[in-house]
């Protein structure tokens, strides 16, 4: 039913409609409302047979998820930021064991400095963890992707991370047609695990594997992600048949057909970019947008096809690899390796820095004339940076950089010494 609802609650209801049997989670902003919503649904008795497990940490959350999934239970958890980092060892185990857990990551920055706001650093840090990673553009897509995630995960026996922008989506109240249990039942078959801990038919899961077979196990993990490249669009098509709307898939091209410039991004910022692109199209500029929904597996061929004969691409990223630059951009360059084109990395929205249409227009004015720096930090306060650099040059003991800059900004008062 179409309803005006907070993104977190829409996701909670969508997950509940998938009839999970175990939900184990530890609260952390901005994910908290999702698991609060699910705990209320379980408490009201609306998910008979579902165990909601309050755990003592994120490490425990993923460990419980591994246990319950191995026991054949449809399993869900959610986390963000430091919570995701805290569970990392178990995150890799979940994928290595091939357990089809679905986890929401309500994307948030990683400290230090501590920051509760949105960017993609947390999920990007797990890009090599072996999980499938899907990024939601809207709350509608966030809700829908969870339904698709269980289907993809269980079909391939691989865990799936659904990434949605913390606060920007989780805390936004907007219209969502929340998937209902009856429709989900037509789309998502009951969980039939490929491997299960069953006392009647005992197996061991998690054997030590030496050099004789480790490469082969890893190779098969990659092979299953390559299978996901085929499966994800099929699942999106099946979803459209049952629910009557397009959600998910590998990529979302928008006005890319004749575009000379293509802006590439993941997640909720795509909405703002589309508005900006519409405004530029009205002035006759040939510009389009390519949203990447599936970051793992990375759809090299779909991206190459969508970019087509464009002259340049701009990757707008809410994370970057310190010491080299863009993460998504390097992937897209690989997609274009047979016919490289001009490209720019724009790091934006770090730690909740708002991404304004005016800033995007200014940046694109430079990009379309090829006068943009190859690596640009959108709305970087260069004066603030220069002042801190000057301090480090002037004084060996210049002190903590973050606190110095907050003092410059007047956010923190000067120490009264």
């Amino acid at each position: 039913m179409r309803t005006q609802i907070e993104g977190s609650l829409a996701v909670a209801q969508a997950v509940a409609a998938c009839r999970p049997q175990v939900i184990c989670a530890y609260p952390i902003s901005p994910q908290t409302h999702i698991v609060e919503g699910l705990s209320a649904i379980v408490k009201r008795g609306e998910l008979p047979g579902c165990e909601y497990v309050n755990v003592e940490s994120e490490f425990a959350a993923m460990s419980v998820a591994i246990g319950s999934s191995a026991a054949g239970a449809r399993t869900y958890t959610a986390t963000a930021s430091q919570g995701l980092l805290f569970m990392v060892e178990a995150v890799y185990n979940a994928s290595g064991l091939g357990l089809p857990i679905v986890m929401t990551v309500a994307n948030r920055a990683i400290g230090a400095p501590i920051n509760i706001w949105n960017d993609h650093t947390d999920a990007m840090s797990q890009r090599d963890s072996g999980w499938i990673q899907l990024y939601a553009e809207t709350n509608q897509e966030a809700a829908d992707l969870h339904v698709q995630a269980f289907r993809i995960a269980e079909e391939l026996s691989l865990p799936v991370m659904v990434c949605m922008d913390g606060f920007i989506l989780t805390h936004a109240v907007e219209e969502v047609d929340v998937p209902e249990a009856d429709d989900v039942a037509r789309f998502l078959p009951p969980f039939a695990p490929r491997q299960v801990l069953d006392p009647a038919d005992p197996v061991s899961i998690g054997a030590m594997v030496g050099p004789e077979a480790f490469t082969e196990v890893r190779y098969l993990a990659h092979d299953r992600q390559m299978q996901a490249l085929e499966l994800i669009p099929q699942v999106a098509a099946d979803f459209a048949e049952v629910f009557g709307r397009d959600s998910g898939g590998l990529v979302h091209p928008y006005l890319t057909e004749d575009a000379e410039t293509i802006v590439i991004a993941l997640g909720s910022v795509l909405g703002t970019i589309k508005d900006v692109v519409d405004e530029r199209r009205e002035k006759g500029e040939k510009i389009g947008v390519l949203g990447i929904t599936s970051f793992r597996p990375f759809p090299l061929r779909a991206i190459e096809a969508a970019i087509g004969d464009a002259k340049r691409f701009v990757c707008l990223e809410k994370a970057f690899s310190v010491g080299i630059g863009g993460i998504v951009a390097s992937h897209v360059r690989m997609a274009m390796s047979t016919h490289p084109i001009k490209n720019y990395t724009v790091v934006a929205g770090l730690g909740g820095r708002v991404i304004l249409k005016t800033s995007l227009h200014e940046m694109l004015d430079k990009a379309v004339t090829d006068s943009l720096e190859a690596l640009t930090f959108l709305d970087l306060d260069t004066d603030l940076v220069e002042r801190e650099l000057a301090r480090t040059r002037a004084d060996r003991r210049s002190g903590p950089a973050a606190e110095n800059m907050l003092r410059d900004l007047g956010t923190v008062r000067a120490a009264s010494v």
């Binding site: 039913m1 179409r2 309803t3 005006q4 609802i5 907070e6 609650l9 509760i116 706001w117 949105n118 809207t138 606060f167 920007i168 805390h171 936004a172 109240v173 907007e174 219209e175 909720s268 910022v269 795509l270 909405g271 703002t272 589309k274 508005d275 909740g352 708002v354 991404i355 304004l356 249409k357």
Partner: protein, 268 residues
Amino acid sequence: MRTGTSGPSCEPAHPINRAWALFTLPSPSAHLEDITSLGRPENRPGGALAGVAGPPPAQVRTIGPLHLRDPRHTLLIMFEVRIHGRGGQGVVTAAELLSVAAFAEGRHAQAFPSFGSERTGAPVVAFCRIADKEIRVREPVVAPDALVVQDATLLHQVDVFAGLKPGGYVLINSTSTPGQLGLGDLEESLGVGRLLTIPATDLAREHIGRPVANLVLLGGLAAFTGIVHLPALLVAMQHHFPGTLGTKNSAAATAAYELVQSLVPSHP
């Protein structure tokens, strides 16, 4: 249910049927009106708001489960509201309920907080966008069509008027006049009937028994701008706060609605 709905029927689920009857639903043929043929309201005399109070043709989307749309509405490109208050005053709830009311009237709406480290007493901002097409933009409201200031002490602490559109609406919770608040110049520049102070906390105390003015101000905003109508707002309040609290807030919001109607030219 926090943001639940009463099902696909047009029948109201709440005891405010009389208010419901104020709305005449147009015939199904009105749904076929091509929205692109209506032109952009902001290009019409009077700016974006001309679309709100404008003449027929009727334009109704039927996806809203409440079907509260006033048939006299025409296409609304975008109306943006920014609400300022302090942690604990219900700023985020106000934005959310405004969006629910707009949704109930068949519009698209988006509400979101400013995502600060909200704590009691700290300045808090929340936003609400209302439009007749899908709202994709995620930037904060930088150029509001309407401002609601829940706590007038913020005037000395935060640049609440930043980016306000020319001719935009300003509704401040205060027992003082704009002149007494030092806003005489702003009042003049915004034009007649665009800056209003109402004693929303007093109304809240009177009707709710607590000095919580967030939803009271929404009643005032509805009368002031016509962006939503009172019945939809009351439905939103009752959904969010079922029972006595919803009833009391509805009474307070209605009082503010009537007060503002008596102060400014009413919207048709």
